[in-house]
């Protein structure tokens, strides 16, 4: 196993920057998820690390070796592809043996390693089958097996679960997590599913438009998103973002809406607002931190319910407030009707404030 260092990595296609000055370090044995919407540059970044496409500028090091100019085969990596990329003409056994044959290992050793891997992944009985005779989950397992027989320095995984059905995906998610815990493997895992990233990764790198937005533990990213993109991308349902205006009168800072209501801010939040570049402020709040009242209470602001979605153990309510949609969760025992007037109470300790111009999170210090 080894650490991976990306330094100021750039990939351009013509005038299009697919990857923009991305720098990050993956520690030895760490599980890092690259996450972001389609076209954010995460798969390109992974392919750059794999050496499948040449980098435009920057540096990639695996272990203590700069691998910029090395062929994929010399980088000591293994990769699991979204479509598994199993060799269709080869049996499962030969699929697993292929990377070992390419490294010219003796026949007995290949046989032993393939059988070990098959045992670990519980597919000894499938060894003589062709990939097309396997289910999606089994194909996925073979792809994982082919990566692990080689005992590589780094595992690269490109959306390995997105071709599976929902139930199997959850199962394989825990298997891959278990696999990481047992092997202490260095894993770089690309996904567009923030839930996969949050549940599996030690650290997640959130990307958008080719730029690295935030690189931190899932808990930190969840609790302290650095900008509005990260805030709205991580968490389901998404964090609600309400554009408001800040005004200060008699030393007290409040947020005002076009509808006329005001939301007083705590001293700490007022300090955050003071750091903004203009008076345009975006209020962010996660569904679980907003309290829903059916009648006016002091400090709560008016809203109108839009949809009510019971999921069994929790009910999600969408409401219109100051022209934005706000997600709120309530216990299933609370009956809420659509198109009803409600009042929302925000927790001053747990709201997020963003600069309306730069879209960056505002800090008190």
């Amino acid at each position: 196993m080894a650490h991976v260092v990306l330094k100021d990595l750039v990939k351009t296609y013509g005038s299009f920057n697919a990857v923009n000055h991305v720098s990050l370090t993956v520690n030895d044995g760490e599980f890092v998820a690259l996450v972001g919407p389609s076209g954010c540059g995460k798969t390109t970044t992974l392919n750059l690390v794999a050496g499948l496409i040449p980098i435009t500028s920057g540096e990639i090091a695996i272990g203590d070796r700069v691998v910029n100019d090395l062929d994929p085969k010399d980088r000591d990596i293994a990769m699991v592809f979204q479509n598994y990329a199993l060799y269709p003409q080869k049996s499962v056994y030969k699929n697993l043996a292929f990377p070992l044959q390419m490294r010219k290992l003796p026949r007995e050793e290949i046989d032993r390693k393939v059988k070990d891997a098959a045992r670990v992944l519980d597919m000894t009985h499938l060894l003589e089958r062709k990939p097309r005779e396997l289910s999606g989950g089994q194909q996925q397992r073979v792809a994982l097996g082919r990566a692990l027989v080689r005992d590589p320095a780094v595992f690269l995984m490109d959306e390995p679960l997105s071709n599976l059905d929902a139930k199997l995906r959850v199962q394989m998610r825990s298997e891959i997590k278990r696999f990481h815990q047992d092997l202490k493997a260095t894993i770089i895992y690309v996904t567009h599913d923030q839930l996969e990233a949050v549940t599996m990764a030690d650290r997640m790198a959130v990307m958008n438009g080719g730029f690295l937005q935030q690189y931190d533990s899932p808990a930190q990213v969840f609790a302290h998103p650095v900008n509005m993109f990260v805030a709205s991308f991580i968490g389901s349902p998404a964090m609600s973002l309400v554009p408001l205006e800040a005004t200060t009168a008699d030393g007290e800072t409040v947020l005002t809406s076009a509808e006329g209501w005001i939301l007083p801010l705590s001293a700490r939040n007022a300090r955050k607002v003071a750091a903004a570049t203009s008076n345009k402020i975006v209020l962010g709040a996660r569904h679980s931190t907003i309290k829903l009242h059916k009648s006016a209470v002091p400090g709560a602001v008016p809203a109108k319910t839009y949809t009510v979605e019971p999921t069994g153990d929790i009910t999600f309510v969408q409401a219109f407030m100051a022209g934005a949609i706000v997600n709120i969760s309530v216990p299933p025992t609370v009956a809420v009707a659509p198109d009803a007037a409600v009042w929302l109470e925000f927790d001053q300790e747990r709201i997020h404030l963003f600069d309306g111009e730069t879209e960056m999170a505002l800090n008190a210090d």
Binding site: N47, P72, K73, R75, Q82, Y87
Partner: protein, 295 residues
């Protein structure tokens, strides 16, 4: 009740319409089959007639005294006609096989490059490849003849092989590119990560998967070269170099035409193509439909 009855009537009527079309289609196909098969049947029948029987009017629909004499004559190397025929047959086989081998050797890497690599002028080149096939063959007859004379290739099989490549290759490249497009690039990427060089990934992973396409391409170039007449007629004048389509012509002469001999030669000429096609047809059909549909 009544609505259910109405629905049944409508269903029956639309079913009858569909059946009508289906029958029209079947009749059309039968007519087409007759149209294409009748000349071949007549060729076979004539080839086993005697020279006199073949000329009779009204024709003998079924030969009264079937004979394999024409075949015996053609396949007998001692006989001068047979010696010529076998020589032409061999010449055709040589030219067609060489054309096929060269077409595959050039088309495989070319198609792979068009499918996988991005290089300046890729689109333009890919369509330029087809340019040659947009004009009738005669247009190139004189220029190519002059070129062959400059190259000193007139009256050699090399001139034919080169010429056949000019129209065989473009189609081979197009056909094979469709094949490579359908092989996911991730397979090669996986192979390269698994320790293969780029070339090994192509050789060990992509090539085996493209065998059906290569076979189809090979059949295609072989048939085209096997049947070609006009260039062979123009470029070759020495008797011992002629290919079959030109050579068979010798059965026509000013005063008499040996029709049974001509038909037997035509039949023997179609044997390699038919055998090739029957053995490999499943690959051929697969190759022609492969590029059409995305999986």
């Amino acid at each position: 009740m009544s609505s259910a009855g109405e629905r049944a009537v409508i269903a029956r009527r639309s079913r009858r319409q569909v059946d009508g079309w289906r029958w029209a289609g079947r009749i059309f196909l039968v007519l087409m089959l007759l149209y294409t098969a009748a000349p071949m049947a007549w060729m076979l029948l004539t080839s086993i007639k005697s020279g006199f029987a073949a000329m009779q009017m009204p024709p003998q629909w079924w030969p009264e005294e079937p004979t394999l004499a024409s075949y015996a004559k053609l396949l007998d190397p001692q006989n001068s006609v047979g010696a010529d025929f076998l020589r032409f047959f061999w010449n055709s086989l040589f030219v067609s096989t060489m054309t096929t081998i060269l077409a595959v050797i050039v088309a495989v890497p070319a198609a792979y490059a068009f499918s996988r690599f991005s290089f300046p002028g890729r689109k333009f080149l890919f369509f330029a490849v087809l340019l040659r096939n947009m004009f009738p063959a005669v247009i190139f007859l004189v220029p190519l003849f002059i070129l062959m004379r400059v190259l000193g290739l007139v009256n050699t099989h090399g001139s034919l092989i080169l010429t056949y490549l000019t129209f065989g290759l473009p189609l081979a490249i197009w056909l094979l590119k469709g094949f490579y497009d359908n092989i996911p690039i991730q397979l090669e990427q996986a192979a390269r990560i698994d320790g293969a060089t780029r070339f090994q990934a192509f050789l060990l992973i992509v090539m085996p998967l493209s065998v059906p396409g290569i076979i189809a391409t090979a059949i295609y170039s072989f048939i085209a070269a096997w049947n070609e007449y006009i260039y062979a007629y123009t470029f070759l004048s020495k008797n011992d170099q002629l290919t079959l389509p030109v050579g068979i012509q010798r059965f026509f002469s000013e005063n008499t035409t040996d029709f049974p001999g001509l038909m037997a030669a035509s039949f023997l000429m179609s044997v390699p193509v038919v055998v090739l096609f029957l053995v490999l047809q499943r690959y051929f059909v697969r190759a022609l439909t492969e590029g059409a549909v995305k999986h």
